[in-house]
Amino acid sequence: MGQSMRDIKRRIRSFEKTRQITKAMKMVAASKLRKAQEQAESSRPYAEKMHDVIVNVARGTKGYNHPMLVSRPVRKTGYLVITSDRGLCGGYNSNLLRKLQATLHERHQSQDEYVIFVIGRKGRDFLKRRGLPVIGEVTGLSDSPKFADVHEIAKQAVQFYADEKFDELFILYNEFINPIIQRPVEKRLLPLTGEELRDSEGTAAGATAVYEYEPSPEAVLDVLLPRYAEALIYSALLEGKASEFAAKMNAMSNATDNATELIEKLTLEFNRARQAAITQEIAEIVGGASAQG
């Protein structure tokens, strides 16, 4: 009996340590989440402003069809997948990668039909292990990534589209809905759809102005559109980061709760065992005394 009491005690202590760690991780994730949300917030004006200008230019240049605005027959598809570097964040990566696999499976017959860009170590390892065609990767991003960190891969992805190495580009990341819910989503980034630009016409209408363009509307569009696509990739990354920390916070919060529950259960068990030991001891003493009686 004494043996099992010591066992239980040891297990309680080990759960307590685990709980301490998960609790700390939860708190760290919560503060990083706040930072990531702020960052996502502050990146918004850039994309919005650019969007305004593009809508304006696109409206002023009817008849000019920039390749990034026009759908063409799809022979090859590019995917950009945003995952995390580190684990311990619940279903964050696995949900996204499952979605990716399902999409690939559904849409393509062979591996020649698509290529994948990947951000994050988890995604990279997963895809490499399965021998999927990864043509670009970024890992080891900081928790608050700079634009320069993803500029290279974003530029590459956009460039590949421009060079017609693939004919459409999808981006997969975890959409941040609120700190409790993150949802893996797939969005078509290129070609930039007409609807996307048209949608906001109502909101942008107040800002309408007839611009002069230097050197020409077409040239402005040529420079602006790739930038816009890059900015979109960057904001998806920031949103992915926010989701990552939210997922991590939830996972760690659950782990902490589970540990607490286990500790309670074990404490009860420990007390019972102690009680049983005492009862037995008394019974032995009483038994001994009455035998001598």
Binding site: S42, P45, K49, V57, Y211, E214, P215, V220, V223, Y234
Partner: protein, 90 residues
């Protein structure tokens, strides 16, 4: 003297937002100086510098991958990177 609002925005954040009197930079077709009530204009920025006159003093900003959008009372510069004078981040 009349002023206009100058915003400098990078993908990371809004770097600068102040009332200024004049903005000078090199647009696609050469050097331009922008005063308040300029005609609406959009152009890529060639070169790397933007000079800004605020309260009668000129300051020089460094930008890369920049764009300028001008409206009568508002000038917006969209840049991949922007450095303010007396601030050396990267």
């Amino acid at each position: 003297m009349s002023t206009m609002v100058l915003d400098i925005v990078t993908p990371e954040k809004k770097v600068y937002s102040e009332e200024v009197e004049m903005v000078i930079t090199k647009a696609a077709e050469g050097e331009i100086g922008i005063l308040p009530r300029h005609i609406p204009l959009v152009s890529p920025i060639k070169g790397k510098t933007v000079r800004v006159k605020k309260d009668g003093v000129f300051e020089t900003f460094h930008v890369s991958g920049g764009f300028i959008e001008v409206r009568s009372d508002r000038v917006t510069i969209l840049a991949e990177k922007a450095e303010l004078p007396g601030q050396n981040e990267e």
